[in-house]
Structures are given as C-alpha cells and as structure tokens.
Amino acid sequence: MTTVINVPQSLDDKSFEAVLEQLAPLALDEKVLLDARHTRWASPYGLTALLTLAQTRLERPTLSAPEAEETTSYWARTGFYRYAEELFELHGAAHKHRPSTESDVLLEITPVAKSEDVHEVVWRIQQKSQSILARELNIDARATMGFAMTLSEACQNIVEHAGRGGWVAVQTYRWQRRLGRRVVVIAVCDAGVGFRKSLETSQTRRLSDRWDDGMALEDAVIRGVSRFRDPGRGQGLAGVRRYIGRWDGKLSVRSGTARIAIVPSWDDDVPLEENLPYFPGAQMQITIPERVADR
C-alpha cells in the first residue's frame, strides 16, 4: 500500500513540518508518494529537506513533481532533479538539470560528504556571492567573506558529525510577506545521527536528569559543546551565531524532535520547539536579510 503525503503549496522550514507530521505514523519501510503537484514554491530548506527525507526511507519513495511549469523549471535550476532521480521514483514533468545562470541561485543543491566537498562549496560560493550580496543585499565585502566562512562551518557539521552525506543550497529571494526585503538563505540538511546522538558519544558530556534533542541543541548551538574533548572544538556554530548576530540574521537548527532558533527582531519564531515529529539528522537554515539602513 502506498500512502500519499501532501507537499504544501509553499514548502519551507515551517511548512515542511506538515510533511513530517504525515510521515510520523508510518513505518520506515512503508511506501510513500510525495505529492508536490500543487506546490508552487520551495525554499532551499524545503528542497534539501525533501532529498534528506528520501534518504531516510527504506522503500524508495515516489515524488510527483510540481505541475506548474515555472515551479518545476526553478526546481531544475536548483539542481534538485539531478539528485532526486537517484532517490525518488519521479512522476510528472521533472525537468532535466540546467545549470543556473540566474542570480537567485547562489549555490545549486550540492552534496556534502567529505572535506573536499566543503572546499568545492566555498570556492563556488565565492565565485558568485560577492557581487550579488553587495549589489542585491547591500552587504559589504567583509561580510561576504564571513558568509563563506559561515557556509563552510555549516557544511563541516555534516562532515564531522552526521556520519553520512547531506546537502547544501544557497539562494536569494524576496521575502515579501514576512520581511518585505531580499534575503539570502543557506540550507544545510542531513539525515545522519543528529546532535543528541553525536553528543552522547562524548565522554565529557555532563550528566543530568534532562537529556533530549532540545537540550542537545542548546548545548551545541548556544553553549558551543562538542563531542570532541579538544577545547578548540565547537567554535564553528559559535562563529555562525556571531555572524548572524552581526548581520541581523536568523539561525534555526532542527534535529530529532526539536528545533532551536536564534531569532532576530524582524521574526516572530520561538527560540525552542520540542516534541516535533521525529526526523533524523540535522537541518540548518541561515537567513541573512538585505541591509536597508545603510542605503
């Protein structure tokens, strides 16, 4: 029997929870069909999380691609179908991959599994990001370097902790409804061991009555705790936090059943959500808004 999972019309980090809620009661080996025919828009998080979701299923899932020409064409430009055709049975008008020549896709969906992949991602983002971030988001050159550093550290989380490969994508778009400004968004998703299990392998982990995905995220994201004894570890996420703080950005990290967010004044997200439907690995989103005051 195949269970149909409805993919929301607008697929982002928030609405992806609706997909996970539908999946929650299903066994991992149950056949699912992800119905994205009516999906009109997807963020980098939405697209990389879809690929990640497919990695978690024991039975290869089916994906019905968006019917709207504009949408499926955009998904093709992000490189989504190149990887989706390996992970899903694809139905519908899935386009052949076309390298993006437009400025909105700063980094096509890219697999990250090893250190060399991070080098490649950093090299590619620097080719494209400097002029676009400066021109469209009014972010200066110094911040562009910080942006690439942030991307590097976010990707290294997969290499160092996930235990399996993941995906990264970077895109700019106009966030009309929530912000009325352009944003640049980094999404880094994996279906690996997640923060809680990663930290559990540390012999230095403090013992406490409460130990769950939420606390693991607080330890890693807020307190810079790492599974490694090395005191130099844990600086990557701290650096990401510092960067988003400097540029009024937002960081959210979901792992297991919890999601933590560093919330800027322009957003009304909650700092910590718990008891979410379980999803393996870690899914990170970094949002940097266009700077308006300096214009």
């Binding site: 950093v122 370097m145 550093m149 590097s152 550290e153 160092e160 130099g232 600086q235 990557g236 650096g239």
Partner: protein, 189 residues
C-alpha cells in the same frame, strides 16, 4: 635569522594545488603538520613569519588548527612543568580583516595572543592579553631591542616589575630574550 613560511605554498604542497582557501579542520591539521615539518628543519630557536598574504578564506576550524594549535605548543602557561620542546616565535603576516575575525575568535577561546601584521602593514597584538601586557608589548615594539632597565625607565615602573612583565611577554611568545636584553616579536620581522 627570520624564517618565512608561505601558507598558500604549504596548502598546495600538503593538501591540493587547486585551493587557496584554508577551510575545514583536516586541511588545517595538514597545513599545521607541514609548518611543523619545516620548523623541525630550522633548529631549536626560531622566529618565523607565517604568511597569509595569498590565502583567500580562513574559517574558524582552520584558524584553530593552524594558529591556535601551532602556538599552544610553545606558550608556557602558569604552573607548566614541561618547557616547550623548541623555542619558537611567530609573526602572522598578510592578515586581512576576515582572517582576523577567525583568528581572534580562536585565540580568545584558548587564551592566546599573537603578533599580526595586517595586509596594510600595521603590526599589532591580537587575541587575549591584559591591558598592561598589551601596553608593554607596544612600548617594547617602539623601543626595539632593550634591556629591562630601558623598559623600566620608559614604563615608569620598578625593575623587578619590568622584568616580570617582560618575562610574561616571553612566555606568551610576544617577546624574545636576546642575550641580556629583550625584543618584541614583530619589531624585527
């Protein structure tokens, strides 16, 4: 003699000749290993310029491996029993604002300080350093080579306090003893 290690050359030789960015922890560890191999050939007492001029991006993981972990072996901490196996001092040259961001972060984490020469030629101490020690290094940098008594006069402090301050800078690898005098790291590089 002042030695010179170009990080982009070490990167190309130890990791890959396609990259100019110092990113990822394995890359940083490989580059530090390359630096240490060069240092091993240079003898027991060394002053080495670590040159970032041709490095594109430096991330936190690489800064931790290359700067903090390199330095930490030579810094004598309070209460340390073992002396460093080699008397090595470093000047980090060609450092830009983005490099500094990563370097300062890791130095603060490890309670370290370095002498950095920025890409516009300025020489400064970067990292965790108490204000009196920072001022002492700046004074020594201006004086060039000096004995404790010169420094005492300049700083307007007692001789034993001057010696304590200069010895503290030496332990942190920010000044070197040269015969019966002292010289600020960076003043000669």
């Amino acid at each position: 003699m002042i030695n010179h290690i170009d990080l982009s050359t070490v990167l190309r030789r130890t990791v890959c000749d396609l990259y100019s960015d110092l990113v990822t922890r394995p890359t940083g560890a490989a580059v530090r290993d390359g630096i240490e191999k060069q240092l091993a050939e240079l003898g027991e007492h060394t002053l080495t310029v670590i040159d970032f001029s041709h490095v594109g991006l430096l991330d936190y993981s690489c800064a931790d491996e290359i700067v903090a972990k390199l330095l930490i072996q030579y810094v004598v901490r309070g209460g340390a029993v073992d002396l460093p196996h080699r008397d090595a001092y470093f000047v980090f040259r060609g450092v830009n604002d983005a490099h500094l961001d990563a370097i300062e972060t890791v130095l603060e984490r490890h309670d370290l300080a370095i002498v950095a020469q920025t890409d516009d030629g300025a020489t400064m101490v970067v990292g965790n350093l108490a204000e009196p020690e920072r001022q002492a290094w700046e004074m020594m940098f201006r004086l060039g080579r000096a004995v404790a008594d010169d420094f005492r006069r300049e700083a307007g402090i007692a001789l034993d306090e001057a010696e304590r301050t200069l010895d503290a800078l030496c332990r942190r690898r920010l000044a070197m003893r040269l015969d019966d005098g002292y010289v600020a790291v960076g003043a000669t590089a």
